[in-house]
């Protein structure tokens, strides 16, 4: 008994250390922001197109690899870094447009299994395309000098890039919110998640709406990949884990809900960060357990609505 208590108190000793808590919270939040960028697109695409895009992780991976290539082409410094982010986002937007108009558009009326197989085929194809274009080895991208140091706040030293990621995530979340709530296009998108047929019969060009939503989702994934590039190891297997985390976020947040994706992404980010401290080795199980609990208690997710 005595030894059990000792083990447990050793296990949770970090709880008395505010520096460790702050640092893990920061890591969790910044990873959560990256997750949000993938999951929000995945969720929007599901909400409007009713397609589960298994290739979304591959789009994120393409964003990261695009950052590898672009970083070699631009001058060092903040301006070059901004160029990399813009380039990766734009590149993935183009790829997204090609995928939607060339492939997805043909199968909106097909049974679910066909849609699933199509995005799954894309996972295979894009996964190998990465190996053909960039090779099998891992790459890394250095961050601009101004973001590579550390920052003092609340008496704790934080890596600056992590703070930057959190700021960028909040900025993009606000931008997405404005896009969905303050523009005509956003009204159509939100209406489409509720009733596509009604929207179409009201005279809205749903074909174009589908394309633009998919392009936005792909662009967000590309931006996420480029932002993640300096803090992840960029290899051909990157997408397999990324898409799983994004799915967990979308399921917990509620499919089709961007606000849900935001809350759930931060939640999953934090659970991962602290799970590693509390239950080393079992943190992966923790997120799936969280998802299972949400599914059992609220099958439509935290912010979703019942069918």
């Amino acid at each position: 008994m005595q030894s059990l208590i000792e083990t447990l108190s050793a296990q949770f000793a970090w709880m008395q250390n505010p520096v460790v808590i702050a640092r893990q919270a920061l890591a969790g939040l910044s990873n959560g922001m990256l997750l949000f960028l993938i999951a929000s697109g995945l969720s929007l695409i599901f909400g409007v197109l009713r397609i589960i895009n298994f290739a979304h992780g591959a789009l994120f991976m393409f964003g990261a690899f695009a950052a590898v290539t672009l970083t070699g082409l631009v001058p060092e410094g903040l301006a070059g870094f901004a160029g990399v982010l813009i380039g990766a986002t734009a590149g993935l937007a183009v790829l997204g447009a090609a995928i939607e108009t060339g492939l997805l558009r043909r199968i909106y009326l097909a049974p679910h299994e066909f849609q699933l197989l199509l995005t799954f085929a894309l996972v295979f194809i894009l996964g190998d395309a990465v190996k053909l274009i960039w090779g099998r080895e891992d790459h890394s991208v250095s961050m601009p000098e101004i973001l590579s140091g550390s920052t003092q706040a609340l008496g704790v030293t934080f890596p600056t890039y992590r703070l930057f990621l959190i700021g960028a995530g909040i900025f993009i979340a606000i931008g997405l919110w404005a896009l969905l709530h303050k523009t005509r296009w956003g009204i159509f998108v939100r209406a489409a998640t509720m009733d596509r047929a009604m929207l179409g019969s009201l005279g809205v060009d749903t074909r174009r709406l589908f394309t633009t939503v998919f392009v936005l989702g792909a662009a967000l994934a590309g931006l996420g990949g480029a932002l993640a590039a300096p803090v992840v190891s960029i290899g051909p297997g990157l997408h397999v884990q990324v898409i799983i985390d994004a799915f967990v976020v979308v399921v917990i947040g509620g499919m089709g809900s961007v606000a849900g994706a935001f809350v759930a992404a931060l939640l999953v980010g934090l659970v991962n960060a602290f799970g590693i401290l509390a239950f080393p080795g079992l943190s992966v199980v923790l997120t799936f357990a969280l998802m299972a609990v949400v599914l059992i208690v609220r099958p439509w997710g935290l912010f979703g609505s019942p069918e």
Partner: protein, 307 residues
């Protein structure tokens, strides 16, 4: 009818003569085809007959495989006794897990049902990966061997047939029974079936458990032939396999998915033997299948027959 009998008799003869004509390698592949034929057909009972698209069916295949492997490796029984217990253990374990997963999953329909099965599969996958004491973790369970003469592929081949043929027969009788007809009615219009007085959810759950149990049997039959089990068998990328097989063969026929399984397995062997980029080739084939062959291989044959 007599023509059908002649075809059946010819098929039995071909199956019986096959091991004499093939090398050990191709007998091994034939065993894989037999196991995956049961896997694909059991999956299609759910999809083609019940209209339930499971995106977590690899979980049951994997649970069955692990259950079989654990009985052989860890139950402490004599090899013959353990081996005799394998099919029962695999089916019982897969059915038990399917009962829990199904209980929560059939509460929702369509793509949401798929997401739930997907979520539970990932939970099981992480358990297989992390419960190293039981499952061997990432290394899996290796060195499985059927006792005595069964270790020879040509003998195990007949064992696989004696496992799979009755299972297919049971499934065939099932889908043509009043239960199966209700199931098909459920696919077409669940609400009307409910109005007639059928308990829709328990009907779906029963189908889910039966389908899962036979997928588990398929997993165990394959595991003892290949000699090992890995957590990757439960990963999300593995759950596309039965979908591809079913769609490739044609979801509207009973044995179509078995044909799809044969084509898929042989394709994989041939392609992966020639290029390391077999996912790229397989992805392209799936893409073509989805866009060009909506009724699968059996659909091609039928269309030719009717024209």
């Amino acid at each position: 009818m007599s023509r059908l009998r002649a075809i059946a008799a010819a098929a039995v003869l071909v199956l019986a003569a096959l091991p004499a004509a093939l090398s050990d390698f191709w007998i091994f592949i034939a065993i894989e085809v037999i196991a995956f034929a049961l896997y694909a057909v059991s999956f299609n009972v759910l999809l083609g007959y019940g209209g339930m698209l499971s995106f977590g069916h690899a979980a049951f295949f994997g649970v069955g495989a692990y259950a079989g492997a654990l009985v052989v490796k860890k139950a402490g029984l004599a090899p013959e006794a353990a081996f005799a217990l394998v099919p029962l253990a695999a089916m019982a374990a897969a059915a038990g897990v399917a009962a829990v997963v199904g209980f929560f999953s059939v509460r929702r329909s369509g793509i949401y049902f798929g997401m739930l099965t997907f979520a539970f599969q990932m939970l099981l996958y992480t358990i297989a990966l992390k419960a190293t004491g039981l499952t061997g973790g990432d290394d899996g369970i290796t060195g499985l061997k059927p006792p005595g003469a069964l270790a020879r592929p040509a003998v195990y081949y007949f064992f696989a047939i004696t496992m799979v043929a009755p299972a297919l027969y049971v499934l065939y009788r099932l889908v043509n029974s009043p239960f199966g007809i209700t199931l098909r009615a459920l696919k077409a219009n669940p609400r009307r079936v409910q109005y007639v007085g059928v308990d829709v959810r328990s009907h779906q759950l029963a189908t889910f458990v039966i389908s899962g149990a036979f997928a588990g049997l398929a997993g165990a039959v394959f595991a003892l032939s290949s000699g090992n089990v890995f957590p990757a068998w439960l990963n999300w990328t593995a759950s596309a396999t039965p979908i591809v097989m079913a769609v490739l063969g044609g979801v509207s026929t009973f044995l179509g998915p078995a044909l799809g399984a044969a084509v898929y397995v042989v394709l994989e062997v041939v392609i992966s033997g020639r290029t390391e980029y077999w996912p790229l080739v397989m992805g392209t084939i799936i893409l073509a299948l989805v866009l060009l062959m909506p009724a699968g291989l059996t659909g091609l044959w039928r269309r030719k027959g009717t024209s």
